[in-house]
Amino acid sequence: MSKMHVTTTVNGDTVEFLADPRETLLDSLRDQLGLTGTKEGCGTGDCGACSVRLDGTLVCSCLVLGVEADGKRIDTIEGMSEDGALHPLQRKFIEHAALQCGFCTPGILIAAKALLEENSNPTEEEVRYWLAGNLCRCTGYDKIIRAVMDAAAELRQEAA
Amino acid sequence: MVAVHLWSSLTRFTDGAREVDIDAQTVGGVLDGLKSDYPGLEPILDAGVSVVIDGEIATGRHVEIPEGAEVVLMQRLKGG
């Protein structure tokens, strides 16, 4: 069962690793590249804790093979703050107490960022449906939704 | 003497008494007294019980029991 050589761009950096073809991108990120901010909650695409961007598209990294990442661009939670400045979503999550245990938080932040890039002014319902694949068991989602809406408002203001 | 209220199914071991008088000053004394007066209670007490003194769950065997206090024996409480 020979491993395959994978070259990919993660958070802007070119990285290489050897992947067993059965290995998921989630395991490649966590176990080969040491990027443990992306979490496994279910391994079946039902919880969204492993959310990353693959060539810009929001995906569950547990449902992508490591070898499929070859030649692609991957963005994870570790690349969300730029030059030490938190993304507004990250700031708003702290400010609104939108996390309790924090385990689902990286996946939700990645997913919310993808939403706001596509829709800068989402309704509460749109946020809720967009994030339906990101389970949170601690918060009842209330403060998460508020934080996303508030970050969206701030980003719109910055853009204006 | 301390009057200790027991839960009903313990009365099998106390000749039917729901309230028993134990000569003790502390929680530990009550538990030891119950065991020596009613040996059938021993495995249940050893499995863990809470002693409630005037509404407050006693925090240990050392806790003293005030004169005239209400003393209730309960299953040990735990939480999630």
Binding site: D20, D27, R30, D31, T36, G37, T38, K39, E40, G41, C42, T44, D46, A49, T76, I77, M80, L86, I94, A97, L99, Q100, C101, G102, F103, C104, T105, V127, Y129, L131, A132, L135, C136, R137, C138, T139, G140, Y141, D142, K143 | H5, W7, S8, S9, G40, P43, I44, A47, V52, D54, G55, E56, T59, E70, V72, M74, L77, K78, G79, G80
Partner: protein, 746 residues
């Protein structure tokens, strides 16, 4: 106590950023599966596919022959002779003679990679003789049910009870029959709830290492590192102090991470593999099949009520199965179910029953939600029948300080009436309802808990402070403890760092459970801060050459107490700390106790639902949580507990359930079919924090974590009846059941 009689604080009651927030929004926070070690092996577990089966033979030769497989363990690798709960834990960690439920571990393997370990596990061959099994609690309590374990009953069980009854409970007071005779309406109904899972998003994970010398270490996601240490030591026959357990950040627990499941396996594998560290991470399916869901319940409730809503007598008889081991929370369910009501005549009977399911663990207010479902549902049905307003009924019968609780002791300071009044005043109760919509209300209760607590505080050289606590931060407790410590010391919130420490650093702490972290670790931190203050006053007094009694502490500085003490400028904490090396050494505080003064918390929830009459689908339109927090130290995280508890209760009420097939195999061991609420299922969850301070805590704290899961189950059942006329007596109130109930009305 009215809000304006409240002492106002500089920090307590404010909403600063949590200290661990940055780590948790950047992916830096390290959870159970995030740690690796040099030379590390990966483990996988072989689990029984049968609900009940004799294990005839385990053949690991094919697995052991694989290149890279370093160790295989079975029950033969564990010590013998354990008894009681220690035996239960060992048996649950690894099956002995019999597999007792679908998913029960029978062997484990360690190998050089995750994929290799999984492949090796598939190659371990286990021969079983399948035995008759039983899943449902009402089947399990039958006299002719398959016997799960002879001799498991404790001394509470009278002779002649069915074989799977392992604990019996019977308590109450007054004259129950006379009470019913006084009533205008006596109703008796049966209610059932299905097992649910805590559903924390982080699967159990640990990294264990154990040498031939019996010394070991473990990194693990847990609510209680000392519990892990003690339980692993018991199961493996180790000296407790030789095992050092460090808690990771924890991705949710809700009670489910207060005990062990697979942790001893990593240690046993490590020992067998020559002391190499072994990482073991559960899959979601393993979490659902083989950790600790809550019990399922079958409950008979009988209540007598007068026309004016006065409750004259109440009787509860509950049967609960908590899996193949004793320990269902039937006792807690009985204690809590009538707790909000003044009762002269009350009787409780409980049966803890074995069934072929995983060993239940605590789940947020263990037992209380089930009991509330039965009692609060029946009360609502009776109010309808008598034409009594359910809120007025609750107020009329509400317990107050000094009343004797239904379960025995007298209540201290409690805030039930204040909670009900705040609910009554909330605008949600005036919102208009449309067709197919209905409103339901219910109360809930949890005692809260103290537990063994040990905390250390040390003043740093620059006057900042560090607090070492033993209760893992599961939902923001670092923030609340930092707030209380900083308030006490008179320093900025940011000057306090709260560390959750490993077992080597403090005396024994119980886990973060029983809603105790902010109460118990917080109280201990405040006392420890007081000790440090006393020492700092002494250092200032020495400097000034006055009596230490003549120094008081205010605004983060030692000050002469009154004009007689002499005139000295305040000496700040930074000044005192900067000189501590030459004034007597380190300045610290330390407190350990089982803190007295636990304050119970009542809550009241009101929910509006809309039911699709053609499909039985229930939509939550509005949700209100009102609960007594004593004093909210960090109100955002108090609200978070209320909202999270409500969401879990909503899931339990509507769609979450353990579903077994006829062979006793769990059918829904993935999140696709174990249906926890998703973001689009819920509305915003409105909260009101009632504050009736707990006199047993320096800042008035009551635990707030658990009560919130209790009222949703009956509140939603009550709302569904209001919307449709149909009454559901079984959980979950899933669309097929709701539609059938609507159809049954004709």
């Amino acid at each position: 106590m009215a809000k304006d009689e409240f002492k106002e604080y500089r920090l307590v009651g404010t909403r600063p950023d949590r200290p661990d927030g940055l780590d948790k929004v950047t992916g830096r926070a390290r959870y159970g599966a995030d740690m690796s070690a040099p030379g590390m092996l990966w483990a996988a577990v072989v689990r029984s596919p049968h609900a009940h089966a004799k294990i005839l033979k385990i053949d690991a030769s094919k697995a052991e022959a694989l290149d890279g497989v370093k160790a295989v363990v079975t029950r033969a690798d564990f010590p013998t002779g354990l008894t009681g709960e220690e035996w239960n834990l060992q048996e649950n960690t690894m099956a002995g003679e019999k597999a007792l439920y679908d998913g029960h571990a029978v062997a484990a393997v360690a190998a050089t990679s995750k994929l290799l370990a999984e492949e090796a596990a598939r190659l371990i061959e286990v021969e079983y003789e399948v035995l008759p099994h039983v899943i449902d609690v009402d089947d399990a309590i039958k006299p002719d049910a398959p016997v799960i374990r002879e001799g498991a009953a404790n001394a509470s069980v009278p002779e002649g009870m069915p074989p799977n009854v392992v604990q019996y409970l019977d308590f109450g007071r007054g004259d129950i029959e006379a009470g019913f005779a006084e009533a205008d309406l006596v109703s008796e109904k049966t209610y059932k709830t299905e097992a649910t899972h805590q559903g924390y998003i982080e699967p159990h994970a640990c990294l264990g290492q154990l040498g031939e010398d019996g010394k070991g270490e473990m990194w693990v996601c847990t609510q209680g590192q000392w519990f892990i240490r003690k339980m692993c030591s018991d199961v493996l026959g180790l000296d407790t102090a030789q095992l050092r357990v460090t808690p990771s950040e924890i991705g949710g627990g809700f009670g489910g991470k207060t005990t062990i499941f697979m942790e001893p396996l990593s240690l046993a594998l490590s020992r067998k593999a020559g002391g190499k560290p072994v990482k073991l991470v559960m899959s979601r399916s393993e979490v659902l099949r083989a950790t600790g869901p809550t019990a399922s319940a079958s409950m008979d409730v009988k209540i007598g009520m007068k026309k004016d809503g006065t409750i004259t007598a109440a009787r509860a008889e509950f049967r609960m199965q908590g899996g193949a081991f004793p320990g269902s929370p039937v006792d807690m369910a009985l204690y809590c179910c009538f707790a909000p009501y003044k009762l002269e005549n009350v009787q409780h009977i409980g049966y803890d029953v074995l069934a072929n399911r995983p060993k239940c663990a605590a789940y947020r207010a263990p037992g209380s939600p089930m009991g509330a479902f039965a009692v609060e549902s029946l009360l609502d049905e009776m109010c309808r029948e008598l034409g009594v307003d359910p809120m007025e009924m609750r107020l009329k019968n509400a317990v107050v300080e000094g009343d004797t609780a239904s379960y025995g002791p007298k209540y201290g300071s409690i805030g039930l009436v204040e909670t009900l009044e705040a609910t009554k005043a909330h605008p949600n109760l005036k919102a208009e309802l449309g067709p197919n919509q209905g409103r339901g209300m219910a109360s809930g209760y949890w005692f809260n808990h103290n537990g063994e607590t040990s905390v250390s505080l040390a003043i740093s050289e620059d006057g900042t402070a560090q607090v070492s606590i033993g209760t893992p931060d599961i939902g923001g407790s670092r923030a609340s403890i930092a707030l209380m410590t900083a308030e006490t010391l008179g320093i900025p919130y940011e000057d306090v760092r709260v560390n959750v420490v490993e077992t080597g650093a403090l005396g024994v702490n119980e886990p973060t459970h029983g809603s105790r972290a902010t109460f118990a670790s917080g109280k201990a931190a405040v006392i420890a801060a007081g000790q440090a203050i006393k020492e700092m006053c002494k250092r200032a007094a020495n400097e000034w050459g006055i009596d230490p009694e003549a120094v008081e502490w205010a605004d983060g500085a030692a000050q002469p107490a009154g004009p007689n003490a002499g005139k000295f400028p305040p000496m700040t904490i930074a000044e005192i700390a900067g000189k501590m090396g030459s004034t007597g050494g380190p300045i610290s505080g330390h407190h350990e106790s089982v803190p007295e003064g636990v304050g119970a918390s009542f809550g009241c929830h009101v929910v509006d639902v809309e039911v699709d009459p053609e499909t039985g689908h229930v939509k939550i339109l509005r949700y209100l949580v009102v609960q007594d927090a004593g004093r909210a130290i960090h109100p955002s995280y108090v609200e978070g507990q209320y909202q999270g508890g409500a969401a879990q209760g909503i899931g339990w009420a509507l769609n979450e359930a353990y579903i077994y097939d006829e062979n006793g195999k769990l059918q829904n061991s993935v999140f696709l079919d174990y249906r926890v609420p998703v973001a689009s299922d819920l509305p915003m969850i409105d909260t009101v924090i009632v504050e009736v301070p707990n006199p047993g805590h320096p800042y008035g704290v009551r635990g707030v974590g658990e009560t919130g899961i209790t009222p949703p189950l009956p509140a939603i059942a009550n709302a569904i009846q209001a919307a449709t006329g149909a009454r559901l007596h079984d959980l979950p109130m899933s669309p097929p059941k709701v539609l059938a109930a609507i159809k049954a009305m004709g």
